[in-house]
Amino acid sequence: MAEQTWRPAARRRAGTPRGRAVEGRAHARLVVGVAVLAVLVVAAVVVPWLAPSGEQFFDYTQVRQGPSGEHLFGTDQAGRDLFARSLAGLRISLIVAVICALGSITLGTLIGAVAGFLGGWPDRLLMRLLDTVNAVPHLLLGIVIVALYRGSMTAVIVSIVVTHWTTVARIVRGEVLSLRQQPFVDAAISGGASQLHVVRRHVLPAVVPQAALSAVLVLPHAVWHETALSFLGLGLPPHMASIGNILSDARSELLLGGWWVVVFPSALLVVTTLATAGIAGTLRDRLVPRRRSELAL
């Protein structure tokens, strides 16, 4: 019998019919995710802009209309067209999410790289800080921050960044720790390179793919977080049509039987989250299979 060497399941299966089926499904998930997200982004940019009267237009002759050809998603209690309004909300949610993801990876990469590269007490201190932040339920910390700086988009963004950098930091730190063992880093150090140079030239570029991936992973969480805060009335100011604000208004409509006020914006939110999560999941499995569990946010 030939000597058996252990190989990861994905490699063992590669080329077999089952392996091809798994790969095919993963690929389909990625393609569908990207396609859905692309359609949503285009719609979110174009529709509110094309809407005859804008998403904030009050039309009291059209109050609480069910879905129809004229108003695809129906209208709310002030006669605003929910189709335009939901997509405008999605646009704001996505913008906030992208800023948050960028903020989280900047802060997370910085802290993770410093902790991993310096080691010793700075590492221990930063990791303790990370554990402490993770010990507070994220939404509660968000509520405290947003409550004290009410109605500002910056506060919402800060509250999300402050709670979401920890995942990125942990991933980057692990990556930096293993990088430090690499011969090329030793070579650079013995060649007389300064610490700053080693970090800038050898460590950060190697960490970028990981950080970029974790940014995609943070996206659905950021959308969720912003929606939840806005839904509670603590997020974006009421005049901004975020999905959370729309759903918050919809709460009272529900008992009047206006199901469309809730169903359509929610569906839009869920489809967006699933599409982003699907893309992130496939990318994760493809780029860093060994970190599967660690990256499961």
Binding site: L140, I143, S266
Partner: protein, 334 residues
Amino acid sequence: MSARTHATTPRGEAIARLVARRLAMAIPVLIVIAGGVFLLGAASPFDPIHQYYGVDVFSAGEQQLEQTREQLGLDDPVHVQFGRWIGGLLTGDLGTSRVFHQPVADVLAERLPWTLLLAGTGIVVAALLALVLGIVTAWRQGGWLDRTVTAIGQGMEGLPSFVLAFVAILVFSVGLGWLPVAGVTDGDAEATFGQVARHLVLPALVLGASQSPWLVLHLRQSLLTSLADDHVIGARARGLPERLVVTGHALPTALLPFLNVLGTRVPELVTGAVLVETVFSWPGVASAMVEAGLAVDYPLLAVLALLATAAVLLGSLLADIATALTDPRVRADG
């Protein structure tokens, strides 16, 4: 050679030491959180004098305001104020809540039981769902039920709990008219067992269901692993009935990580409780957090944030104790 080489100290003693060490670690964490929350408050544009006076701040005289500031010590340096606040917390003076017009301690005493009731029922619902669905899906891996449940589970992870709550209200309250939508009793009715139970059904089911997908998928995964273990294959080979193999041999090993996971899900449970309590107007501490946030009721906000942190730490401690108690291989003090 002794058979107990890995357990040199008695089990109980080791667990006691685990508890002591975790408590010692929890104190600095809580102090840092308290400090962070306090600094946030101190740095915010929000002036505590408004909280003290409410709307009257606009009619109050300049001198009167000045005097109150003096009395409350609002002009003292931040660290002095922080020390005073922490000292108050330690001696049982939690401050006064403005939204509820009563001491924070009374708010907690009144509302905490409701949250514990809701969260407790919710976690039981979630655990039961996870046990039933996890066992069935792992046992019949690849079957139609497995594929349906797995797909729904993954889909629900993208579904915020308040959306789930809306759907539940639409179907069971507005559509079918079976269950009430808000509060713990009908109007001013007495809080009898029947009343509360009827009002508890929807929020607890929604909270439980929103927590369950992750647990179902987790238990399914660990059962799949343990179904391939040697002792399970051995049990099958001995011809034991399938039911006994799954529940008697595979399940116990899979339950260990599950217990641990239940304890570490407290942050998600707290988050879920905040949203579910708000949608269903449940009079618990989680919805009080939102009201305190809306009204910038700082003393209540800070105490509730600390309480939630303590709950998270307690959850992870309980998970570790459960693991240490049930799995003799784990060193409790390690």
